[in-house]
């Protein structure tokens, strides 16, 4: 049989099925397999809100999108080339994001009468048979039947257990289609099911059956190959956002010598940081699953006061509950990290969907004049650097810091050229150990040239002192209701945060000229979409540049100059216009917004259109 091999540059696959179909695992396995070949990639998992949404329904569809390429990849892709649909609902929910002429790999068994009804297809309509998919290439496979077939010798397994391996069949088939080997997945299965031999063997069997199905069935005449990407030389691994963030915290702890104390309460999509950190006790990390969000931050404040690196992780609703305690940390002027993995709001909102709508909350969401530095990550691997920077700012400027990430980067994966610990700049921390010469009494609010007060922790003889949430007298830290003192302290706390601008890098132009027609100014997870849209327009010869802000409060000192070098400024955000308010306020510039508030990332395509309108 003659088989063709076709070389492709760029592929987007979406694995979609019922939340019980194991699509996340399938996607992650395919991701690792792709990454190990040195192909660049970005992923986007898309979960249903309910853990056990009704089976077969549209609400229960779980998806995993991967974009891989021999070119640099910045986003998980706008539209897919291949849609794997394990049931009718998965097809219905995702068909709109399939390219014209794209491939559909459909599990026929998921298109029976019951599944069609659950997916709200009218009686008697089956998209696989009514010609409605004629503009696509439909590959119909009876995955359920073939899986059961492959496992006919596994007498000890019940039907339910056999069917659970369906996703391995699909994965095996896709591996065949993209010319891959099965090694990494077999290793993974061994690690996962090592102790349960039958399950291990059955999964491997089905994986191989899927692969062989592609190999032996004559209908499939073409296999595809995507070559290695031309990435900068180095050693890479695949990393997800929340994992990178956790590693950034651990690295900062090691490089500052401050043990991590995480006080937190589980919340989607931040809980993975708690899971990750609690695995690494070997680094001396203390994780504390508190009784509520408030106790999460309060315990972290207690730990920071004791000289640890106090961290609390949450999402928007949790930040709302923590605001009073953040005010205390601002008043105490102690280091603290508040990490917000944003999700759709307000209130409980869209817990499993992404949004950038807590920027104003991070900026202003506290009582009183209560400035806190804000820093945001832009890609999964960037979470590492941003976490490291957040710790540096917190401990060197004695301040709580708000770190913003979001559900999209938290769960997304990309290749990461990880640093070695020797590459990481040490974070210098000094506790006050004793009274200086001539100092009679410890003055907790006596500041240095950065306006930073000393960190004197309990257990230090001679430095006993009292601090609290009441207004402090300058220098002594005693309670003070004096009018002039209050004005002075409010201004000083603000000046201290503003002065951080002297200790952060200047804003860079990410791509494009320093001066020109349109500046696309972004922050956070819109990075990939903006980057790819701007690169495309630059290639067409348009005068457009991209700058992406990591340090949101204070801004880098040159941000205003950069903005003034462009005729127009476009600020795309996954919110109703938040950075734009701050930019207009700070720089009096007539910036325009592009706002999408649908719980999903902005795509490159729509951004290209939005920018074109301004050119």
């Amino acid at each position: 049989m003659s088989r063709q091999e076709q070389l492709l540059q760029d592929v987007v696959i979406k694995f979609a099925g019922d939340s019980g179909d194991g699509m996340q695992l399938t996607g992650q396995q395919f991701t690792n397999n792709t990454a190990l070949l040195g192909i660049d990639l970005a992923t986007f998992p898309d979960f249903p809100a309910e853990i056990r949404a009704p089976q077969g329904t549209l609400a229960g569809v779980s998806g995993f999108q991967i974009h891989f390429s021999s070119n640099k990849v910045f986003t998980p892709g706008d539209l897919c080339d291949v849609l794997v649909a394990m049931n009718a609902a998965a097809l219905k929910a995702n068909l709109k994001s399939l390219k014209a002429g794209g491939k559909i790999i459909a599990n026929i068994d998921g298109f029976d009468t019951k599944n069609l009804r659950l997916a709200n297809y009218p009686d008697g309509v089956n998209p696989l048979e009514d010609g409605s998919l004629d503009s696509y290439e439909v590959i119909k496979i009876d995955v359920t039947k073939l899986t059961r077939e492959a496992l006919k010798d596994f007498a000890e397994l019940g039907v339910k257990e056999r069917d659970r391996a369906k996703n391995m069949f699909v994965l095996g088939f896709i591996y065949w289609m993209y010319n891959r080997n099965l090694d990494n997945t077999i290793d993974f299965l061994k690690e996962k099911f090592g102790k349960k031999d039958v399950i291990l063997q059955s999964n491997i069997k089905v994986l191989q059956a899927g692969y062989n199905y592609g190999d032996t069935t004559e209908t499939f005449t073409t296999r595809y190959k995507v070559e290695k990407a031309k990435l900068p030389a180095g050693v890479y691994r695949s990393i997800m956002g929340n994992q990178a963030l956790s590693y950034g915290l651990i690295a900062a702890s090691e490089k500052s010598g401050l043990p991590i104390f995480l006080g937190t309460y589980p919340i989607t999509p931040a809980s993975d940081i708690l899971h990750e950190l609690s695995k690494h006790k070997a680094f001396g990390i203390k994780t504390f699953q508190a009784e509520d969000e408030i106790a999460g931050i309060a315990s972290a404040i207690g730990a920071s006061y004791g000289g640890s690196l106090g961290i609390t992780t949450t999402s928007g609703p949790g930040v709302a509950l923590k605001t009073e305690a953040m005010g205390l940390a601002v008043m105490l002027e102690i280091p603290l990290l508040v990490i917000n993995i944003q999700r759709g709001g307000p209130s409980t909102g869209l817990p499993t969907k992404t949004e950038q709508s807590d920027l104003l909350q991070a900026y202003y969401g506290r009582n009183g004049e209560c400035p806190m530095p804000v820093i945001a990550s832009s890609t999964p691997s960037d979470c590492f650097d941003v976490a490291y920077e957040a710790v540096r700012i917190a401990v060197q400027h004695m301040t709580p810091v708000m770190l913003l990430s979001d559900g999209y980067i938290a769960n997304g994966a990309e290749p990461w050229r990880f640093p070695s610990s020797a590459d990481l700049q040490p974070i210098k921390v000094e506790f006050k150990k004793e009274l200086a010469e001539g100092e009679e009494k410890y003055q907790p609010y006596k500041r240095d040239e950065k306006l930073v007060r000393p960190w004197a922790v309990p257990g230090t003889a001679g430095l006993e002192h009292r601090i609290g949430g009441l207004e402090k007298q300058d220098i002594t830290g005693n309670v003070s209701y004096d009018a002039d003192n209050h004005q002075h302290m409010v201004k000083t706390r603000q000046a201290k945060v503003d002065m951080i601008a002297d200790y952060i890098p200047l804003q860079k132009i990410d791509s494009g000229a320093e001066k020109g027609k349109v500046l696309v100014l972004g922050w956070g997870s819109t990075y990939g979409a903006i980057k790819s849209a701007v690169l495309e327009l630059q290639a067409e010869g348009h005068s457009v540049s991209h700058a992406h802000i990591r340090y949101l409060r204070p801004f880098p000192k040159n941000l205003g100059d950069i903005i003034k070098n462009f005729e127009k400024v476009l600020i795309p955000e996954i919110n109703n216009g938040q950075l734009i308010k701050i930019i207009r306020d700070e720089f009096l510039v007539d910036a325009k917004g592009y706002n999408k508030i649908m719980g999903i990332p902005i795509t490159k395509g729509e951004l290209v259109e939005a920018i074109k309108k301004m050119l």
């Binding site: 990454a35 030389a233 050693v235 043990p259 203390k286 207690g302 730990a303 006993e464």
Partner: protein, 344 residues
Amino acid sequence: MSTAVTSPALTAKDFATDQEVRWCPGCGDYSILAQVQKVMPTLGIPKENIVIVSGIGCSSRFPYYMNTFGMHSIHGRATAIASGLKAARPELSVWIVSGDGDSMSIGGNHTIHLLRRNFDVNMLVFNNQIYGLTKGQYSPTSEEHKITKSTPYGSIDHPFNPMALALGADATFIARSMDRDPKHLQQTLTRAAQHKGASFVEIYQNCNIFNDGAFEIFTEKATKAEEALFLENGKPLVFGASQNKGIKLDGLKPVVVTLGEGVSADDLWIHDESDFYKAQILTRLFDNPYKGGDHFPRPFGVFYQTERPCYEEVLGLQIEEVISSKGKGNLDKLLRGKEVWEIV
């Protein structure tokens, strides 16, 4: 860091600060402060290793008047802050000063969780059955029908029974004392400090401005002997002006008896601090003396004490175990992970 005594013996004066004490004249808080300052030097803990964390309320001003490390935090959260501090620094002697509103209303959640986790801290609840700092609203321990600024027609809230609440949360040490009995208070504080685990001490504190005399039947000479029952481990429950009354257990039911009339001290309930079931009954000797019905004196002293592993200890042990079985964390190994590829 060791908590052993390294410096010359301290006195109560060493624990006072230069800050002017700002409670209302006559407030019960003064006596509590004096007793704490007296007890501290006897504990053999260097004062730099002592931290007092408070919330908000009149009582919560306490840290400013103690020459130790201290934090006057936010309303209801002292317990949570102290939990984090103790978890991070198990060698410190951590004290929480709170009031009835702070610990049982806004901070009720943290209080019960602190107790169940059994952090080795001392929690002093100054119970004055009123909101003092906000000028006189009823509190979660105020009695029903109480007329206050926010309950002009009388409170319809059923009050908390703090001892029962603490025991219900599996506290390992619960005790009650009062501002007006300095010796008893000192003894109770000492016991609390010596207990390994979370010590919950309820201190009846008179707010002479907004709730004067709330506890006077327990504290004033004329009624104290009849209304207050002082617990001593291994001793029978005896009270009364001439120490002629006692409490006897009739099955699970406590009854007041008069000694002599066919009842001897041997027939009485012998206090056993380690008996959880009896402690539950003790916490329920909580009737309102003005209400009628079965009437019992109110117990003071240590109701219950037991040993249970402390959270911060187990937290540390877990880390030690992981390090001894897996070795200390290696950052480069972590960052590298299991699967890497090289691009040349």
